[in-house]
């Protein structure tokens, strides 16, 4: 059969804005006149920005999101194709260096409404309680200015709002269960189960991932097509574009897409007065606001603060500590590839569908602090070919030959905690982008604990792959995710923001995204970033107009607003059992 029953699939034919095949934005977006002073301008409508926009708009604030990339129509703009998905990433120039330079672009940087949540693999483990106090427990890194228990209610909320599919009981960290059932296994997950079972290592299967295992409202369930990190056309994988932005717009928020924030402006009173951005026609536009939230992620947030230097803040905005751009972190993300005699076809099923956190915590028997996770990954042909050029040093006929065996390989990922170091930084390069703004220069170096952890973790994943029955096991070193660069802390001399994301230096300037994480554990950061955003939103809503009118900085925990979730998130899934 070469054609579908009923003819070729042409997608929706009307003019509505498609968010997956079933969800559409039908009402026009509210547009604030240029003269109007917004309550909040949020720079970056990604993982954190999308949640903040939704919460603050629902609570009645006048909110404008400034987003550098486009407002995707998923039927028109997204494709089931690796090369055709290049526009999802931050492809503007940046410089990378240090002893262990990070690959940027498609590796870790989103652009467009939804940000990185559009192209994440959607693993959504929580951080462990120990992650919030690694200095106290292990004498490394730094403690968070908050505990796991303060964030826990927001983990529970976001696990419903995305929602997260996973096992009924997840045994690691603070044990918990998930509101949607686990996904079926792909062949890579089966390899992880085989290897771990043989070695006596526990495995979590079918999640936790923010991918629908059953349909919910106007979102279909997963169809196991394997293009998760090329953006989910199905609408089964959560992104803030489809989970929070529709409700934000219904609640009166405006999103100005294809607008690049150039600087945050400071008034004569020392408070921020708004944001100047470059609009799609290349013009500078100033949007005044009573408060500003920067949610540009770990590279663009420090870059914007440093580019906002002014007479009052000569070293960059909110940088009296000299900490802006420092303590940048990525996780060790070595890919371990195993060749099996029988076919695998790892392009089917979501890349993220099984993991183990058995090695997450510090083990005194090892010669390093902290630990790592092992997760499934399912590289498509281009990503796999690039991995083979490193893992097997293959080029020429040898690369062609290895690639003909693509369907025999399975891939597992190490996810290892790299500690926060002062010399891992985002600074301004001498070169400028097409708007004349200095671009980011990223510097990254591994230290002794990191090197020992990676060596041990990499060998453990290779051992699991061999135990699974692979006849040949190779690996490629790489790094995953980005956090830090504007970290939160108790002490204004060594951190940029407090535990609610308020900058120590400017009372109406907030930062909320991955950049405020003081440490990163070995859990994928997306869920934690969104949970922090929901918590900061509750704080801002509880503070009301005090944020706009006073310089007060209360640090009392706000009431958890369970009534502010997008309405479509409620009334589905497994009730949470106490």
């Amino acid at each position: 059969m070469k054609t579908p029953l009923g003819g070729a699939f042409e997608g929706p034919s009307d003019d509505a804005h498609g968010l997956g095949p079933m969800q559409q934005l039908t009402r026009p977006m509210r547009r604030y006149p240029p003269s109007e002073i917004a309550d909040y301008v949020i720079v970056g409508v990604g993982s954190a920005g999308g949640v903040l926009l939704q919460r603050l708009a629902r609570a009645g604030f006048r909110v404008i999101g400034i987003e550098a990339g486009p407002f995707w129509d998923t039927e028109r703009d997204w494709v089931s194709d690796e090369k055709g998905s290049e526009s999802l990433y931050w492809n503007e120039p940046r410089v990378t260096g240090g002893r262990h330079p990070l690959a940027l672009g498609e590796n870790n940087s989103g652009r467009g409404v939804g940000g990185g949540s559009v192209h994440w693999a959607a693993f959504t483990p929580r951080f462990h309680p120990s992650d919030f106090q690694i200095h106290t427990l292990d004498g490394v890194g730094v403690d968070w200015p908050m505990s796991y228990w303060e964030l826990k209610p927001y983990y529970e909320l976001l696990e419903m709002e995305m929602p997260v599919a996973g096992p009924a009981r997840y045994p690691w960290g603070d044990p918990h269960g998930y509101p949607y059932g686990p996904h079926p296994m792909g062949a890579v997950g089966n390899a992880l189960i085989r290897g771990c079972t043989k070695l006596g290592i526990g495995v979590s299967i079918g999640g936790p991932v923010a991918i629908l295992s059953g349909s919910r409202g106007n979102r279909p369930h997963c169809i196991y097509r394997g293009f998760c990190i090329q953006a989910c056309k199905v609408g089964a994988k959560a992104s803030t574009l489809i989970t929070h932005v529709p409700d934000a717009l219904r609640s009166g928020a405006e999103i100005r897409d294809r607008c690049l924030a150039a600087r945050v402006n400071v008034g004569a009173d020392g408070r921020v007065s708004g944001v100047t951005y470059i609009d799609p026609q290349g013009r500078e536009v100033e949007q005044k606001a009573r408060a500003v939230i920067v949610s540009g992620y770990a590279i663009e947030t420090p870059r914007l603060l440093l580019n906002s230097a002014c007479a009052r803040h000569p070293d960059g905005l909110a940088n009296s500590s000299g900490t802006v751009g420092k303590y940048l972190m990525a996780q060790a993300g070595n890919v371990i590839l195993g060749r099996f005699d029988e076919p695998v076809r790892m392009y089917k099923a979501p890349p993220a569908h099984a993991l183990t956190e058995e090695f997450y915590e510090t083990d005194p028997k090892r010669d390093f602090a902290r630990g790592f996770a092992i997760q499934t990954v399912g590289p498509l042909p281009i990503a796999f070919a690039k991995q083979m050029t490193t893992a097997k040093k293959a080029w020429g006929w040898r690369l062609r030959q290895v690639m003909m065996d693509y369907n025999h390989w399975a891939a597992l990922g190490l996810l290892g905690e790299i500690l926060p170091w002062e010399d891992n930084t985002v600074s301004l390069a001498t070169e400028r982008d097409r708007h004349g703004l200095p671009v980011a220069h990223v510097t990254f170096n591994l230290h002794d604990n990191d090197l020992k952890l990676i060596e041990f973790g990499k060998n453990k994943v290779m051992e699991v792959m061999e135990a699974a029955g692979a006849e040949e096991v190779v690996q490629e070193p790489r790094y995953a995710h980005l956090v830090g660069g504007a970290r939160m802390g108790f002490d204004p001399r060594t951190s940029v923001v407090d535990k609610f994301g308020r900058t120590h230096d400017v009372p109406n300037l907030f930062i909320c995204d991955g950049s405020i994480l003081p440490t990163q554990g070995s859990a994928n950061p997306g869920l934690t970033i969104q949970a922090l955003a929901a918590r900061t939103a509750d704080y801002l809503i509880a503070q009301g107009t005090d944020v706009f009118q006073t310089n007060k900085r209360p640090l009392d925990a706000p009431r958890v607003r369970r009534d502010l979730s997008p309405p479509e998130a409620l009334g589905h899934g497994v009730p949470r059992l106490k």
Binding site: S80, I223, K348, A385, Y406, N407
Partner: protein
């Protein structure tokens, strides 16, 4: 069939005989991803068909540079096992990216911008060929070309090392190889070759386990081959 290129063909290890070029090398002889295009969504169909049907014109490289880069790519990803009609063009897509100024989001601090990397690397290949063999790179035989490229791959370029002082050899090699591989394996002919099912929205996949093909995919039918120089992958 033109037999003058027999020395470039892969070899059947059982007989020692060269294997003539075919329309579709690989272990999935009748599998054709494009036959499934009616099951894809419209945007994906447009992107993939445009890639196959509209090969861009050369606008960034000079004619001489394009010829030289093609010779390099022919060694980084040889296609002598494909018949003329089924070779996958690589240089035009790299040319298009460089001409349009599209970056991939970063450059290493010790590396120039991509357009300069390509121009300087191509000049360096020819300079090496001249120094070692008194010929341009294109005129070398493939073993001489491979020796030059392998020395760059290993980070120990043959000849005057001074010309690589501002151009880190290993990173240059990786950039060219990644661009060639990303172009080759973005083409449906390559998906047919390796048995990759390709676009799968809105239809999806249902046979997730044990590497089983979907009803419209093909099972693997392996044959033995080694590269013409006899130095292939171990299996």
């Amino acid at each position: 069939m033109n037999d003058s290129k027999r020395h470039l063909w892969p070899v059947d290890p059982a007989t020692g005989e060269p294997i003539p070029p075919r329309a579709q090398p690989g272990y999935y002889p009748r599998f054709q991803v494009l036959s499934q295009q009616a099951f894809w969504d419209e945007a994906t169909r447009r992107v993939v068909l445009d890639r196959v049907e509209n090969v861009p014109e050369i606008r960034f490289f000079s004619a001489a540079e394009a010829t030289l880069l093609e010779a390099v790519f022919n060694r980084l990803l040889p296609q002598d096992d494909r018949d003329e009609a089924h070779r996958i063009p690589l240089v035009p897509y790299v040319d298009e990216r460089l001409f349009s100024g599209k970056g991939d989001g970063y450059r290493y601090e010790e590396m120039p911008d991509d357009p300069d990397v390509y121009r300087l690397a191509l000049a360096a290949f020819d300079a090496m060929a001249n120094e070692l063999h008194a010929k341009c790179f294109v005129a070398l035989d493939v073993s001489e070309q491979d020796a030059i490229l392998e020395s760059i791959h290993e980070g120990r370029p043959l000849g005057d090392v001074e010309r690589w002082r501002l151009l880190p050899a290993r990173r240059v090699f990786a950039k060219l190889l990644h661009d060639a591989a990303a172009t080759y394996y973005s083409h449906p002919f390559a998906w047919d070759e390796i048995g990759f099912g390709g676009p799968a929205y809105p239809r999806g996949y249902m046979r997730l386990e044990r590497g089983e093909p979907e009803p419209w995919e093909s099972a693997e039918r392996r044959y033995a081959w080694v590269p013409p120089d006899g130095k292939g992958a171990p299996r």
